[in-house]
């Protein structure tokens, strides 16, 4: 509504109101909470009450205590592995989708994305029962003769978290890769064929490089979602599957140390921001449009 020269006074008053709201809403409900949160990380707790004196104690504790850094590092490795597994499965599937024609392509894409909308808690529960001692996975492996007897290898440990998160997050990897593959102009592939490249060469030298931005954003997407998840590890991780998200959450529950939890969140946020920036940096598509 920016056409020239015709702003009524009533509309001007309204636009002033809208301006205030447009700035105030995001600031009050997003920026202020995050700022308070950051400030909290410099407080401390003494016998169940929060001490409002600034200190770097929480950060010192995070870096010096022998518990936190290893868990932090292990969690990062875990989430990178989740991202790798998701991409290894999602890339071929997304590529297959782009070989399909018209309606089939989108119908199948939809089919692969619908599970995203399905209740998250229920999925975790179902996956846990599949991975469990009496679950389908063990039954299948025993039936195939790979295992002698049902194993506890897949539940209540790090493996369980890895498998569950991967299963939950595959659709998030499919979509960006599919979109980047779909954006590659057909003429480029025709041109490559025309210049004598084999199908495999065309894939390695044209399709793959041009789809890497999609892979990068898929990886950062999956990584960020995995590292922020504190419910899945709690449900399928048992005692040995201890992740950073769980430690963080416990500071607001059983451990009751909000300031320390806030400091851990800052560490988490920094990793997440790095992952988003990396995804953004490599996810920008270079020259796929002519």
């Amino acid at each position: 509504m920016s056409a020239a020269g015709s702003i009524h006074p009533r509309e001007r008053r309204l636009s002033l109101l809208v301006t205030v709201l447009a700035f105030a809403l995001p600031v009050i409900f997003v920026l202020v909470p995050l700022a308070i949160f950051l400030v909290y990380s410099f407080f401390s707790v003494d016998q169940g009450t929060i001490v409002y004196t600034p200190t770097l104690g929480n950060y010192v504790r995070f870096f010096t205590d022998p518990i936190f850094l290893p868990v932090f590092w292990n969690t990062i490795v875990l989430c990178v592995s989740v991202a790798v597994i998701c991409i290894l499965l999602a890339y071929p599937a997304a590529y297959f989708l782009t070989t399909l024609k018209g309606r089939w392509r989108y119908a199948l894409l939809m089919l692969l994305l619908v599970p995203l909308l399905m209740s998250y808690v229920i999925k975790i529960y179902a996956i846990r029962s599949i991975l469990g001692l009496n679950g389908f996975l063990n039954k299948a492996l025993v039936a195939l003769g790979i295992l002698q007897q049902p194993s506890n290898l897949f539940v209540f440990n790090m493996n369980a978290i890895l498998l569950t998160l991967s299963l939950l997050l595959i659709p998030f990897a499919i979509l960006p890769i599919f979109l980047s593959l779909e954006r590659i102009p057909q003429t480029l592939l025709r041109a490559s064929d025309d210049l004598g490249a084999s199908g495999w060469q065309t894939f390695l030298r044209i399709t793959l490089p041009l789809s890497l931005p999609g892979v990068a954003s898929a990886a950062s997407f999956v990584f960020v979602l995995a590292i922020g998840d504190f419910l899945t590890p709690q449900m399928v991780g048992g005692i040995s599957g201890f992740t950073f998200g769980r430690i963080l959450y416990s500071q607001f529950g059983t451990a009751y140390n909000w300031p320390f939890g806030a400091a851990l969140s800052v560490a988490l946020a920094i990793v997440v921001i790095c992952a988003i920036l990396v995804g953004e940096r490599f996810g920008r598509n270079r020259g796929t449009s002519i």
């Binding site: 056409a3 020239a4 020269g5 015709s6």
Partner: protein, 366 residues
């Protein structure tokens, strides 16, 4: 309706976007009932002129007067002008009749009256059968006519058309040109038509205003612009032309000579006082159209010189020869002549004697 009264006057109108000037001190009068075309290459400021008149953009300086009243500050929705947009800007969620009736309905006109006038307007643009279609279901030419009906239903004093034919293919564009012209004659409303296509301008306009780089270069009838361009830009932009640089010689009555690399050429300067007033020795061009140039024979007393035929191009009804003339300042000229069924009389590489009549040549100051 009197073609001699001014409907709209632009006085010293300037426009800048930030610090970038796009229009410099424009003066322009639009006569009541005329079909005025603003012609110029892209970036010449022609669309800006239209947007300023329509009220889509504010002026930076100057004023716009309607019937002598300053309307520069009048809001867009109060101006008695309507626009046909380049992309038609049909409302996609309304039917054809919804689109056409919009201007009446926002003025709270009675539903019955709207229905009647929409039917009339659609009849005028021959789209009566399409009243209940949506824009997405129409062809380009039909959308164009809906946009026109929508603009003229409010009976504006002036209809502004922003390159409305640009998106149509050649055949349809020709039809639409005739159609627009006939509608304009029928409703006797003033049309301001913006285009970059000079053929379109010649075919439709009563007068043409040629713009370049934010300036008006010439305003006149198509005939004037074609035969009496007042500057090098118009002479080159408006149709194919041969321009030969030189220095002005003395004037003799309605003619004046110019010294060029082709020798002394004599050209007409009738009705062009500025050419009569220009000092001897001033830099200028002798300009003559390709169809004015022809093979010299013994009876020719005009401007003659010799040249070599570099290339012959058959273009259907006519054949165009590219001719190089010798000397230090080599010139490339074009000659257009009717094609002949038994082939051209000219041959590539041949040196020929050429001439054009003084009354078919004109002068342009450099």
């Amino acid at each position: 309706m009197n073609q001699n009264t001014d409907l709209l006057t632009l006085r010293s109108v300037s426009k800048s976007y930030g610090t970038v000037p796009v229009l410099h001190d424009i003066d322009l009068s639009i006569k009541d009932g005329e079909f005025l075309t603003v012609l110029g290459p892209s970036g010449s400021g022609k669309t800006t002129v239209l947007r300023l008149i329509g009220g889509l953009e504010p002026l930076t300086a100057g004023e716009i007067r309607l019937d002598g009243q300053d309307i520069s500050r009048m809001p867009i929705n109060k101006r008695p002008f309507n626009t046909v947009f380049q992309d038609y800007a049909l409302f996609p969620h309304m039917t054809v009749s919804g689109n056409v009736g919009y201007g009446l309905s926002v003025r709270h006109m009675k539903r019955k009256e709207i229905t009647r006038r929409v039917a009339e307007a659609l009849e005028l643009v021959q789209l009566g059968r399409f009243a209940d279609r949506f824009p997405a279901q129409l062809s380009g030419g039909q959308r164009q006519r809906v946009a026109l009906a929508r603009a003229l239903i409010c009976q504006p004093r002036l209809i502004l058309l922003d390159e409305p034919l640009a998106a149509l293919d050649l055949e349809l564009r020709r039809q639409m040109q005739e159609f627009l012209k006939s509608i304009q004659r029928e409703i006797k409303t003033t049309f301001l038509f913006v285009t970059h296509d000079q053929e379109e301008a010649i075919g439709m306009a009563d007068r043409i205003c040629v713009m370049q780089a934010g300036h008006i270069r010439q305003l006149g009838t198509p005939h004037d612009l074609y035969y009496k361009p007042n500057c090098e830009f118009v002479a080159r932009f408006f149709g194919e032309n041969n321009l030969v640089p030189g220095k002005l010689g003395p004037a003799q009555g309605e003619q004046r000579s110019i010294e060029t690399a082709l020798g002394r050429l004599v050209c007409s300067i009738s009705d062009q006082p500025h050419l009569k007033a220009a000092p001897d020795g001033a830099s200028a061009f002798a300009a003559f159209r390709p169809e004015a140039l022809h093979m010299a024979d013994a009876t020719d007393s005009g401007n003659s010189f010799s040249g070599t035929i570099a290339d012959l191009a058959f273009a259907g009804s006519s054949t165009v020869a590219t001719i190089t003339t010798g000397g230090d300042a080599a010139q490339r000229l074009r000659l257009r002549m009717p094609s002949r069924i038994d082939g051209s009389v000219l041959k590539s590489g041949e040196t020929v004697s050429l001439c054009f009549a003084p009354h078919e040549g004109h002068l342009v100051l450099a």
